[in-house]
Amino acid sequence: MSEQVVNEQYVLQVNGEAREVHDAWVGESLLYVLRERLGLPAAKGGCEQGECGSCSVLVDGALVCACLVLAAAVTDTEIVTLEGLQPDERGALSIVQQAFVEEGAVQCGFCTPGLVMAVEDLLARDAAPEDLTVREAVSGNLCRCTGYGRVLAAIDRAVGATKEAAR
């Protein structure tokens, strides 16, 4: 039985920092490396197939499922996780995060980091999305607790608050 093939070392740019990864098996996903090697467990593993969106992160500004990306294939990109997307102060929340808390969009919370990433990404592209646009934008993020009602309410609130902040 052959041994695992490992990369001696590579560097990922995560949340604005250069992070070294040592002696990692070549097959490790970005999700695994973020969670288990770099101490960034906000992105969650829910399906390993890019179906549930719980592992959503930004790679060079594009929303991707970190479970589908080989970590060693995204050297020389800018990776942003939920940990890097929020205000720095302890406990401070982005408009989207605040809306999720106050509108009851969080139950078990497992899908929440991925949903927050997807909504932040949507609002960065479209500050005033229509209902169906919102539903489509988050249709790649499965949630089993909420039935999406409070999630959609939170997005409505975040859209309103974003408009308000822009004035």
């Binding site: 969650k44 939920l82 509108e103 078990c108 489509e136 039935g147």
Partner: protein, 758 residues
């Protein structure tokens, strides 16, 4: 103990929020920041990764297992099989009928054969695949009807339960008779956070396990039995739970992880893949149900007969009680003077089935609500009117002869649901049509129809079980801390516990400690029971602390405690001598109380299925508006109006969240969710192939609440988790029947069924 993780599940004390307010979750901020520690987020110095080898065959004799090739792989630290167990190789939620590892007989596809620990998850996977098992494959017993009389596939036999309920004279017939046979496919709970746990060997020879579960103490006892350890050497702590819905009532990776940790002397983390999650937990029982109703021409139900066969799969899990619920609630929330119910929970070589939201009641509601529509049509009576005409109410008797002592406002939920406005006409957008982005449905093909259904079930545990919980309240300088082993799985118990403490003690700051086995059992987070049972214990503990504070103040002022009142955090005496705020009345002094809650005693069912077996009940009505493309077989559930019997709304936001979430699962069962099983093997154990509703599939929900306080329940509140899943499914299917004119007697309704190709 090794230092674990960077984060915890400890909750923050959120500002404000008494009973009746939309208090926000104390774990909401950590969850939106990605800082809440789910069980799979844990990490310990030197930890290994666990993996499980599972039988691909549903039925087989094991001739030989060779673990040598796995052990030869560098980085593999342990490979354990049945021969490595020192304790008893049996576990099970209610009855220990399931081997931890297969000894000689495989009874389902997915049954654990061996557990592996390695220094990397991929090494563990490779080791798992390197184990050589010599199986003699035997034909699986997969038809539950056949299994009833077939040779036993387990020493306990093939019947988990056979229950007969007789009421009145079942041979009595009204002039209008309708009958039908209905089938319910195997639904999965499909929680988002796969099973995960971290087992850590302890210096005292015991083990600590941090795990996602619904019932810490039941798990603890099962683990301890297999490890051969006294229960106090097995300490469980709740890791953050990514949803549950019944699937975490049974032990999954708990015992394997603890065995590996004790064997290697190192922490072992196990996280199931989605595939393994589908293989490694119980599902909703598939069912085949025949029903016959007779009625007077005005729609008054005269008689009811049913035969219910529930496929429990290879091991018992909760099949015994699922069978009881299906039997007890088979007629729905209607007065039935004469009835004969035969219900079977059957063992087969299919995947084990157990608890899922609304168990037993969900299956029969699909059947009895289809029957109600048929009966109304046969009598020429309006479908909603027929239900109102037969609706159960307090004081009526169930099929089991039990008189309903508490509240059960069936007619009220029906009227309140029908009074909710219908949605506006369809938006002319392709995404809003059945089939959505597939862009296949022409707007002119869409038929919009309405379906209606009602359902009910019991709350809390039944049939004589002493259902209890214990909670501790500690108050110091105006800060309260609640300790309770109730598993928070997303439903919001932690919020409700804070609201109870704030309301009773009049303080703002309330912590809820992480749940663990250092305090007594809180029972399971299931059967819509934690708000009532653990909530009852929290209420009692807070009231005991309040009484102690008053005693202290009375003593220091030399007055009778009876002369003091505590209202909204303010302690006052009738004579005006005392007027103080609870937060500052006793600096540095700790008041603490631990209280148990038991609901009233229930009794087993007798040989005729009669008895006072259930504590409380809850009902709900659902009206579904569904757009259907009958030609292409496509369906979009547009809107669901519901009215639910909730006792009292403790938290409007969380109540609505439970209702919307439960409805989505009911819509899933109606339109898309089914584990396909062929010769005992699950064909679609992935989110690519097992579909659950997305944001584009989920209907808009309008909800109304009927608030009739339930006697004996804290603040009069009923559990709200299960009723939304019970009648949402039949309401959706009734609308699809209306659009297609087809009988649609099986869920999920597939495109082929809608289009008439089956």
């Amino acid at each position: 103990m090794t230092v674990v993780s960077r984060r915890s599940t400890r909750t923050e004390p959120t500002a404000g929020g008494r009973v009746g307010d939309s208090a926000i979750r104390p774990d909401g901020v950590p969850k939106v920041r990605g800082e809440f520690a789910f069980a799979g987020d844990l990490w310990a110095e030197g930890m290994l990764w666990g993996a499980t080898l599972r039988s691909p065959h549903a039925s087989a004799i094991v001739r030989h297992v060779d673990i040598g090739p796995a052990l030869a792989i560098p980085g593999v630290r342990a490979v354990l099989t049945a021969t490595d167990l020192v304790g008893r190789n049996r576990y099970g939620l209610e009855h220990r009928d399931q081997p931890v590892f297969v000894e000689d007989v495989v009874r389902y596809s997915g049954e654990p054969m061996a557990a592996i620990a390695a220094d990397h998850p991929d090494t563990a996977r490779r080791a798992r695949d390197a184990i050589v098992v010599d199986y003699e494959v035997t034909p699986p017993l997969t038809d539950p009807e056949v299994a009833i009389d077939a040779p036993a596939i387990h020493p306990d036999g093939n019947l988990f339960r056979q229950l007969v309920v007789r009421r009145g004279d079942p041979s009595t017939r009204g002039p209008v008779v309708v009958e039908g046979t209905y089938e319910i496919g195997m639904q999965d709970q499909a929680f988002m956070g796969p099973e995960a746990g971290l087992a850590i060997p302890a210096d005292d020879g015991g083990v600590d396990l941090i795990v996602s579960t619904q019932w810490l103490h039941n798990d603890r006892d099962q683990v301890a039995e297999v490890l051969g350890l006294p229960p106090d050497k097995v300490r469980l702590t709740l890791g953050g739970v990514g949803g549950a819905f019944g699937a975490r009532e049974d032990v999954s990776l708990h015992i394997h992880s603890c065995l590996l940790a004790l064997h290697t002397g190192r922490p072992v983390k196990t996280v199931y893949s989605r595939r393994e999650s589908f293989l490694g937990h119980v599902h909703r029982h598939p069912a085949r149900i025949w029903m016959r109703h007779s009625a007077e021409p005005d729609g008054t139900i005269v008689s009811f007969e049913t035969r219910i066969v529930l496929d429990g799969g290879a091991y018992r899990s909760s099949s015994f009680h699922v069978t009881a619920n299906a039997a007890c609630f088979a007629a729905g929330p209607y007065r039935v003077p004469n009835a004969l119910v035969e219900a079977y929970g059957v063992r087969t070589n299919n995947p084990p089935c157990g608890a899922m939201r609304g168990f037993g009641a969900v299956q029969v509601a699909f059947a009895h609500e289809a029957q109600m529509d048929r009966l109304a049509d046969a009598c020429g009576v309006d479908r909603v009117e027929l239900r109102l005409h037969n609706a159960l109410a307090s004081g009526d008797e169930l099929l089991t002869g039990q008189r309903i002592e508490g509240s059960l406002p069936v007619a009220e939920v029906i009227r309140a649901c029908m009074a909710l406005p219908e949605p506006p006409p369809a938006v002319d957008d392709v995404l809003a049509r059945p089939g959505g982005a597939g862009n296949t449905t022409d707007a002119s093909s869409v038929r919009r129809e309405v379906g209606f259904a009602v359902g009910f079930k019991n709350l809390m545990y039944a049939e004589g079980y002493d259902d209890d919980s214990v909670a501790r309240c500690r108050l110091e300088d105006g800060v309260a801390t609640i300790t309770c082993a109730a598993a928070e799985v997303g439903q919001g118990f932690v919020t409700v516990a804070q609201q109870f403490a704030r309301t009773i003690l009049g303080v703002d700051d309330v912590f809820v400690d992480p749940a663990d086995t250092s305090i007594g059992s809180a029972g399971s987070t299931s059967a819509s029971r934690q708000t009532m049972v653990s909530g009852g214990a929290v209420e009692a503990a807070c009231r005991a602390v309040a009484a102690r504070v008053l005693e202290y103040v009375a003593e220091t002022h030399g007055i009778d405690p009876e002369a003091l009142t505590l209202t909204d955090g303010r302690i006052q005496s009738a004579d005006g001598r005392v007027d103080a705020v609870i937060a500052s009345v006793a600096p540095g002094i700790v008041f603490e109380a631990e209280e148990e809650f038991h609901h009233r005693v229930t009794h087993p069912l007798d040989a005729d299925g009669q008895g006072d077996a259930h504590v409380s009940f809850a009902c709900a009505a659902h009206r579904a508006v569904v757009d259907v493309d009958p030609e292409l077989g496509l369906v979009r559930v547009v809107h669901i109006a519901t009215a639910q019997d909730v006792g009292r709304v403790l938290n409007p936001l969380q109540c609505l969240g439970q209702i919307e979430g439960g409805i989505a699962q009911g819509v899933g069962l109606a339109t898309m969710e089914e584990l396909l099983v062929d010769e005992g093997r699950i064909l679609n154990p992935s989110f690519t192939d097992y579909l659950i509703p997305t944001a584009l599939d989920a209907p808009t929900v309008a909800a109304a609440y009927i608030e009739e306080p339930e006697p004996g329940a804290p603040f009069g509140a009923k559990g709200v988790g299960e009723p939304p899943t019970i009648s949402s499914t039949p309401a959706v299917v009734a609308a699809i029947r209306a659009a297609t004119g087809r009988p649609l007697t099986r869920v999920p309704v597939r495109p082929d069924d809608v289009a008439g190709l089956t």
